[in-house]
Amino acid sequence: MRKALFALTICALLASNALAVENTATLNSDITQKKYQRKTAVSVGEMELQKPFVILPVIDNTRKRPRKIANYMYQITNNEIDPLTKLFYNYVITQRFDKLIILPNKVILITKTGEATLNTNLPQPSIPQGIDFKTYKQNVENYLNTQIAPVMEKLLEITLDQRYKELPEQEKMTFITQKAKELGLTAEVAEKLMNSGFAFATYIPTIKGNLTINKSILAGTSNPYNAQISLEAQPVILIYRFDGDKKTFVPYKQIVADSGITSQSISLKRPVYSPRYYRNLFDRTLALTIKAAAINAGMELKEDDNFAIFSPAEEVEGNSFKAKVGVAEAIRIDAPFDIYEFENGKKVYKGFGKARDVAYNCEIESTNKTKFDLVKGNVEEYDQLREHPWSGVLFGIQAGITPFSVTEVAGQSASGGGDWATFRITIDADLGYIANSKALSEWWLKIYGGGGSGGDDITIPSLNATISPDNYAEGGLGIYKRIYLGATGLAITPGADFSYRYLKFTGSSGDELTIGAYTFTPHIGFIYNLSPNFEINGEVGYPINVSSDTTYTDSLGTEYTGSAETEGGVNFFIGASYHFGVVGSLSALYAEPPSCKRK
């Protein structure tokens, strides 16, 4: 009988819990109306370098044949690692996190609208540089669970009320808030908040790269040589989640980021062969590489639903809509958001939009909303928006025809040249997103390089020369604006390029003609977005020769120099671009992530 009574009591207690939870659970939205809830993040010590130095093979390209001439070794000292760590986490642990900052005599937890300080002498992790990954991981976990966990627990506890107020959903209009005038945080919500802590530790395996000393490709410069350092880093980011009940950190996930190949160069009057001479160039390139890796890591982080921003679409009017996200979630201008709806139990993709006017929503209970334009598909009130992991940089290929018909070369009347079948590799970067600038929204930077073939012979009657096309190479920089046509995913793209084109022709008797031309090309084209990550494009342009240098060397070695006059003509290209997520050297253009601190 007693047993039965005991069992009944337990049942009643369980049932009562279930009922109580059921009622408070109804106050929260389900997955279809998911909203981002802020997480607390702490970084563990400094970034760990597998090798606190970088060995760069030096390639000399100034001779007839490129050759490796030496290995230069650059040490990375602790004094350098510290700012690099700050730089890295600035792009990874952004404003969307509440940040736990460890100082020598205190630890501060900065939330969206407040902060809490705990006076404690938390020892630094003191993990030596240059250790293997496994040992580093053990050190991190040991430090997290012996030193950080108690502090994390304390600070999460202290800030429970503050962070509850910052939640996107609270128990509004209920008895407890309206009549009892209590904050009344439930144990269920407290548990969620106590489990919202994350720790980040970063391990960088050997950084690879090289140093090249080159002849400058551009004609007529005062510094005919340059040196370029290229580096690539692939940091491994260990993420741990704080378990509020067990009061320990548990492994959450591991991200491998990629900086892409990041290069920096300096021009030289003459080749210099001294590692010390390039120290500054190395430091600059290393910082850029770390920044590029951080941008990639931040993007990779958004692949995880815990760190990506979710919000329902609101105030849908035509092709624009709004969402309660903004600076507090580190949303950049032109950031793409995917649109979903839930249909018969399935999550269905509907299209995507881009942030055009990012709201400052850093104050408590701010009602400011970010404005989006629908780029492709359709959107309905309260469809789910999910931040699309994006870097703002697309890599692509283009193929087309470029005219280069000449009327004069090297001061001589000439004809021929014709149209060149051209192939380009392109990099397109959304300046609005990268610079986080509303004024630059949908202004895109285009960098391209390519080559061609199939031009016509050039005839120079006065020199009795007929020379055949050999090489066509071009490299250029352009800017264009994407003007989207409704929500079709289609944009027209007026813009202009500035490029350098290099052409080489060879005659049958060993004579040679080279043409280097600075070209300005106004163009108009189209982009069709299949998604934020993949698009097809096309353009038509009119290359205008700005200035050029030509040299004709006849079979006897006599050189004729002068400029080239071209007939003009229309070029056209079609191509496709894809988002790989790596940004490489373009990281130099990236503005810092949005911050609630008003400057």
Binding site: N23, N28, T32, E182, A187
Partner: protein, 405 residues
């Protein structure tokens, strides 16, 4: 060219077929909600409920409006505390349902942002939290004569006098008593607060002893002269976690018919575990959870029970030699007055207790007058005590002393 034309035509045919294959969304031409899915969340005050309701529609606005209707519909008909409790009330409500559901926003004081949105078949299905003004809704039902007003009930069967008693002496149970009293008063019931009276106390104890009942709440309720008494019990738990104290309360209420001791309703309310400065907040939250339900249960049971007569407990004392005849006379009168069977709870050599249901007599005093008029003898009737549903009389000739010990 021909090929191209053929392909284009095929494409148009295929796409148009595909589009006609999709279910067309059409809202039915009825004022009732398409969705009748709703859930009670909280009784935030005596006149307001928070309801989680789901609506269906071809557009977001239609789904939102349907959810509003579903919330109102739920308050009227759904769950375990509908405003319309009897078949008669539901029948009467049909006449004004179009008016109420046609303008659901008239009864909604607040609505949340959507809590859910999905597509099911051709419909958009959305959920919202609504604060429903149950007070206004009830007033509308009263004005339109769908619900019987308390005055009507008073005129017809008499409004019950209710005593709310804490089941234990702890401060939270006493606090819960006030919450329930507040709900009852808001619904125009007369709430009696028992006060000590030594003489009445003595009589009640004797009567209770006669029946073999020793429940102090029963005696207290009898003493208060209540028709119904509600026993309230609360418990508060403390849990320490995350560096703070979370309180959780449960409240339990049982309503009894005082005359018969019959259970009329029972309900339990819970609060979640909350970090609050005062336990009263969670006690009230838990009590709010049950108070509305128990008051509706009381109303429903009282209406049901009293339609065939109000219950009275009548204790008759007489001298041993006259008792047999007195008992017979009284019993015959009750047979005439009551449509329902007469219950004799306890009977001795000189005393007996009846439970009778008599229509048209609102209180024990009027019952006494009626008995006095109809009593054929032996001797006459003399009233000892009347409190609500309890009537104690002496009957017979000569001086019949009742010893109350």
């Amino acid at each position: 060219m021909k090929k191209l034309l053929f392909l284009s035509a095929a494409f148009i045919v295929i796409t148009s077929c595909a589009s006609t294959g999709k279910q067309l969304c059409q809202m039915p031409n009825t004022v009732e909600p398409l969705s009748k899915e709703a859930q009670f969340v909280e009784s935030s005050s005596t006149a307001e409920y928070i309801i989680l309701a789901t609506g269906k529609g071809c557009t977001v606005n239609q789904a939102r409006n349907d959810a509003r209707k579903a919330a109102i519909w739920f308050v009227l008909f759904g769950g375990d505390r509908p405003l319309l409790q009897t078949a008669r009330e539901r029948r009467k409500a049909k006449a004004i349902l179009d008016e109420i559901l046609g303008n659901p926003q008239n009864y909604i004081r607040w609505e949340s942002a959507p809590k859910s949105k999905r597509k099911e078949g051709p419909y958009i299905v959305m959920s919202f939290l609504f604060k429903v003004d149950v007070g206004a809704l009830k007033q509308k039902l009263l004005d339109e004569g769908v619900l019987e007003s308390t005055e009507d009930i008073s005129e017809e069967v008499g409004l019950p006098f209710i005593a709310v008693l804490p089941a234990s002496n702890d401060e939270f149970s006493k606090f819960a008593v006030t919450v329930i009293e507040e709900y009852l008063q808001d619904r125009d019931y007369e709430v009696y607060v028992p006060e000590g009276n030594e003489k009445i106390d003595k009589i009640i104890k004797t009567v209770a002893a006669l029946e073999g009942k020793t429940d102090p709440y029963y005696m207290e309720a009898m003493q208060a002269g209540s028709d119904i008494f509600v026993k309230v019990k609360t418990s508060v738990w403390k849990v320490n976690k995350y560096g703070r104290t979370f309180l959780k309360a449960t409240a339990e209420a049982k309503a009894y018919e005082t005359a018969t001791g019959k259970l009329l309703g029972a309900s339990t309310g819970f609060s979640p575990e909350r970090n609050v400065t005062s336990p009263e907040a969670v006690v009230q939250e838990a009590t709010n959870d049950l108070a509305d339900k128990i008051t509706l249960q009381i109303r429903k049971a009282w209406l049901r029970e009293t339609r065939r007569g109000k219950p009275f407990k009548v204790v008759v004392f007489s001298s041993e030699d006259q008792f047999r005849n007195v008992d017979r006379s009284i019993y015959r009168i009750f047979r005439k007055l009551s449509r329902r069977p007469i219950k004799r709870l306890a009977s001795g050599k000189s005393a007996t207790t009846y439970v009778v249901y008599i229509k048209g007599i609102p209180n024990a005093y009027e019952l006494f007058m009626k008995l006095e008029d109809m009593y054929p003898g032996p001797g006459k009737l003399e009233k000892v005590l009347d409190t609500g549903s309890l009537l104690i009389i002496k009957a017979g000739s000569g001086d019949t002393d009742i010893e109350i010990e």
